[in-house]
Symmetry: C2
Subunit: 326 residues, 2 copies
Amino acid sequence: MKGTMPTMKDVAQEAGVALGTVSKVFNGLPVGERYRVKVEAAAKKLGYQVNQYARGLRAGKTFTVALIVPGLDHPFFAALAQHTCTALAQRGHRMLVYVTASRPDIEQSCINMVRQNKVDGIIGLTYNPLELDESVPFVSIDRVLGPNIPCVAADNFGGGRAAAEKLIELGCRRLAFFRTGSASPSETDRRGDGFEAVCQRQGIPCHSIRLQDGDGMNAFKEFIHEHMSGGRSEIDGIFCSTDLLAWRIQHLLAEEGLRVPEDVQIIGFDGVRRFGGESLYCSTIVQPIQRMAETSVDLLLSKDRSNIPALVCLPVSYAPGGTTKE
Amino acid sequence: MKGTMPTMKDVAQEAGVALGTVSKVFNGLPVGERYRVKVEAAAKKLGYQVNQYARGLRAGKTFTVALIVPGLDHPFFAALAQHTCTALAQRGHRMLVYVTASRPDIEQSCINMVRQNKVDGIIGLTYNPLELDESVPFVSIDRVLGPNIPCVAADNFGGGRAAAEKLIELGCRRLAFFRTGSASPSETDRRGDGFEAVCQRQGIPCHSIRLQDGDGMNAFKEFIHEHMSGGRSEIDGIFCSTDLLAWRIQHLLAEEGLRVPEDVQIIGFDGVRRFGGESLYCSTIVQPIQRMAETSVDLLLSKDRSNIPALVCLPVSYAPGGTTKE
């Protein structure tokens, strides 16, 4: 046997089964359990390695899923990629990664490349309008892309509502919501919607401000200066669309001599942790990143595609992280 | 044309070239520039999509590289994966990711899976002894695995030396080096070696301590208690094998009422930043993560494998991050 690679025929002979049975086992098709055991034992004994390429061509499957994300350097995307990779591996699939820097041209070219690569599906966290066809199953994170593309997101509206309720419960009476990021519509817009809905219902004044990507932090400083009265901030509670923004705002408030959480309380959104698993950056609404990854993978690999939901919102939770009075 | 997928033959006819020329272009083989342009224009016009699977079978190439890392949730690994993905994309390759949690069984099973998947190469950051064959090119990060497996690392020895020189330059006279992590040998061990070499040469006393993964932080606290004298720390400079350890030690010193950097100065190793691109966690020796990724990719895809180095060490740099007197 040395020097020649064993073939499927060799495995069939060793296992004492028909060649078609071996083929079924290697292609993941249904076959009696005792046949499967025999074939796998024979394959192991002979050192037979399934050629995934030939297998892919025969079965029309590649057991490969592409993940398209803006980058891996932000801890939210890194955690999403980590959990997606693990969920796919548990289901016998491998993960290709494409990074886009949120640029529309790179996002579209990734989609085009992935199509050529004949993957079994795509999980995408994208920011721009895309040309998609339905040849490859697609699950979108945080953005509704079209009628046949399920979207998986955190319960952003519920998270925004929880943030407002928590700040009010902790004594805040003049609130502000700040957001950054893409102007194109996204499920993450619901964070502000939920926050504002509670403020309105409870009659709590609330500013809602979108900070531009470039000079957003200067605009924030101006806002704070305009809302100072007798050396004190009129705003006593701030909700931020992300933990990164909450972290930046926390530092700017310190520069202005305002104490967090004594003078101003802050709640962010994401729930990312230092070094991936240490402390939170701020009090925050925690996204269920692992469940989002697993749900995306399950929807993508689902065999029955007749009953796929358009949008799945997964529950969030509040966690104190030092920027609130708990 | 609608309804049927165009074939290579259609592309050849449209371009007015031989079928073999089209095949060469799609398989990345040398062909005259004007032929290449013609073929690509025809392929684009017809909407021809290269079937990567068929292409892979024909050329014996998959244009796919596997990256094996402990996880994506630590910012060093996340940055490494990000830069590796970009470097591969720039060279026409795509990246599969496997995460191992540093477990020996998962590391070995990833290697076995990757072999079956017929990738063009593997870039691995692994911690345990592995069974490898030479059927698939392999580049190892931070660990020398064998004679025909090039290893890419930061200049760990030089970084350790730079940390000692910087602490001494900033006035420290009683130093300590702390490390955590795997006990199996790695290029990262050179960090301590370089640090100790400078201390010895300059006659500066230096403790060198390996903290166990579980109760390491308690062992650190005991060490600090043993080296207090009249409410002050005898140790005035600490070098840590990672930024994470430096960050933890900084917090433990604060709990003990010691001020950083006034009483104790700390230098870490890695150079990772909050949220991937914000401030450093501590004063640190910065690893050239992007260059490490690019060098690994270049070594892996190098056509001439007769002159591959065993170990490539890339230059590091010191960056102040608040835990030293600059």
